[in-house]
């Protein structure tokens, strides 16, 4: 079994989509433990890709390939995964986008892909998202987490406006807010009363997991 896990890990790490899909089909055909394969195989490959990115061995293209492969494997496993984890996506529901006036898609798209690869149910609104569209999506999608990116010092205040709007509409208690993007910081997140800041895509996934697991404990 260990060898099989390692194959799954390598398929994601090396960006081998065909192999990953084939392995995922075998998981179903041979009725293996889906959660174990994810955790000790595919997900580990994605984590290692993130580590390589932090070490400067991988860059955005490699990270994007690994995330694509992870998503392909997840697509195959999803039906049986949902049976194993209940009807909700295992990670929680996420709405993500780049704030109004900002057309930078790159960092946000990587975070979006990584989050869905990690099992979150992600609604990606794209770039240049108006404040109202964020609010509508959080409400309609019953989001547990709102992620906002801003790549420009001229647009980052949009994040603050959306948090204020959530407050005004009485929705702030229902959703966690995670902010990121080059000009943002820990201090900025505190200042605008977001729940967390992530300096990069890998950190964003960790922050999302942390925020939503705390949320679960509170609810349970």
């Amino acid at each position: 079994m260990k060898a099989f896990f390692e194959q799954c890990e390598a398929a994601v790490l090396e960006g081998n989509k065909d192999l990953a899909v084939e392995l995922a089909r075998r998981v179903l055909a041979e009725n293996m433990d889906v959660l174990a394969v994810l955790e000790r195989g595919f997900s580990r490959g994605l984590r290692r890709a993130g580590e390589k990115w932090e070490a400067g061995e991988y860059f955005l293209p490699e990270l994007a390939f690994s995330a694509e492969v992870m998503k392909a494997a997840l697509d195959v496993l999803r039906p049986s995964l949902l049976r194993a984890a209940g009807t909700r996506a295992p990670g929680g529901r996420v709405v993500i986008g780049t704030v109004q006036g900002d057309i930078h898609d790159i960092g946000k798209s990587v975070v979006s892909t990584l989050l869905s690869a990690h099992g979150f149910d992600v609604l990606d609104l794209g770039a240049n998202v108006t404040h109202e569209r964020f609010i509508d999506a959080v409400r309609d999608h019953h989001a547990d987490l709102l992620c906002m990116s801003a790549l420009l010092t001229t647009t980052m205040t949009g994040q603050a406006h959306v948090v204020e709007l959530l407050q005004k509409r009485g929705m702030r208690g229902d959703v966690k807010v995670l902010v990121g993007g080059v000009p943002t910081s820990e201090g900025w997140a505190r200042q605008i009363r977001a729940d967390a800041y992530a300096p990069d895509a890998v950190a964003a996934v960790e922050a999302a997991k942390g925020l939503l697991s705390r949320d679960d404990r509170k609810a349970g």
Binding site: F59, L60, I106, N128, T153, T154, M156, V182, P183
Partner: protein, 301 residues
């Protein structure tokens, strides 16, 4: 076609120690440019403010004045509902820089106007779904309507070499002035790379064979890191080099970015860049006319 074939920039760079201007976007923010507002729109809405910034850099001694056209591709302007104003805003950008460049103090060489082109915001695969053909036509469209003369094109903040090459191909097709390309590198534990993993030497080799007149680095990293990067860049190419670092990493105060670096620290690092063989230095985000003034002062000592 627009511009003069021989602007003298390459010759000046070869002789060394050319000073470019500093940040434009951060200067506009300091004068009230609001969140989400495209800086290029101010070429029409607040031309005096844009010109005042250009003039402050010229007065500080900058030899090259960079147009406020960084986000002037149709893709970026359209995102702000300014898709029909591409020609107007880019021409206005050149006109404003040109006026400031013409105010030459006695005894100095005529100032040059560099036409700035930044990323389109569209991303190539595997991260995004843009095509190289699409990017090349974006840059060509930005240059197509220029009727005002420029002295050089500066393609900046390139984080994907492929997009930089698209811009370079478009510019070579559209104008006859020298074209420089500066990449945005980040420092990793394994050295300097772009976000897409492009390395210094390989990138510069490709840019040179595609016809870049000069290359270099701008944005993201502070001047102290730029000194190290300058050393690596000098070892990687014989082309003239331009370095335009940020004024450190910004802190946020009251919703606005605040850059903490002082002009003397920046100027000290800039001198070190010149000493490693860099041909030109200017500033990117957060740098001000005071930074350029301090640098020019030290060079003339």
């Amino acid at each position: 076609m627009t511009g003069k074939p021989d602007s003298g920039i390459v010759d000046r760079l070869r002789r060394g120690r050319v000073v470019f201007d500093g940040g434009m976007g951060s200067q506009l923010i300091a004068r009230g440019l609001e969140a989400g507002h495209p800086p290029e729109e101010w070429n029409r809405a607040h031309p005096k403010t844009v010109q005042e910034i250009h003039r402050a850099y010229a007065d500080a001694g900058a030899e090259v004045i960079t147009t406020n056209s960084f986000g002037g591709t149709p893709a970026r302007l359209s995102a702000h509902g300014l898709g029909n104003d591409v020609v107007t805003l880019n021409n206005a950008a050149v006109r404003l820089a040109r006026v400031a460049a013409a105010t030459t103090a006695a005894g100095t060489r005529p100032r040059l106007v560099a036409f700035s082109m930044g990323p389109t915001g569209r991303i190539l695969p595997p991260v995004g779904d843009a095509t190289e053909r699409e990017l090349e036509s974006e840059f060509a469209a930005q240059l197509a309507g220029l009727s005002e003369p420029i002295d050089l094109v500066l393609i900046e903040t390139v984080f994907d070499l492929r997009e930089g090459l698209c811009a370079l191909r478009a510019a070579r097709r559209m104008v006859s002035v020298p074209i420089g390309v500066t990449l945005t590198f980040k420092r990793t534990p394994r050295g300097f790379f772009t976000e897409m993993g492009d390395r210094v030497a390989a990138s510069f080799a490709k840019l040179e064979s595609a016809g870049a007149a000069f290359v270099g680095a701008n944005c993201t990293i502070a001047s102290s890191d730029m000194v190290d990067l300058a050393r690596e860049m000098r070892g990687a190419t014989a082309l003239p080099l331009l370095c335009q670092p940020n004024a450190g990493a910004p802190d946020i105060e009251g919703g606005k970015p605040v850059y903490r670096q002082r002009p003397d620290a920046f100027a000290g690092d800039a001198i070190r860049m010149f000493e490693t063989g860099v041909n030109a230095v200017g500033g990117c985000c957060g740098t001000t006319p005071e930074f350029i003034d301090e640098l020019v002062r030290r060079l003339s000592r």
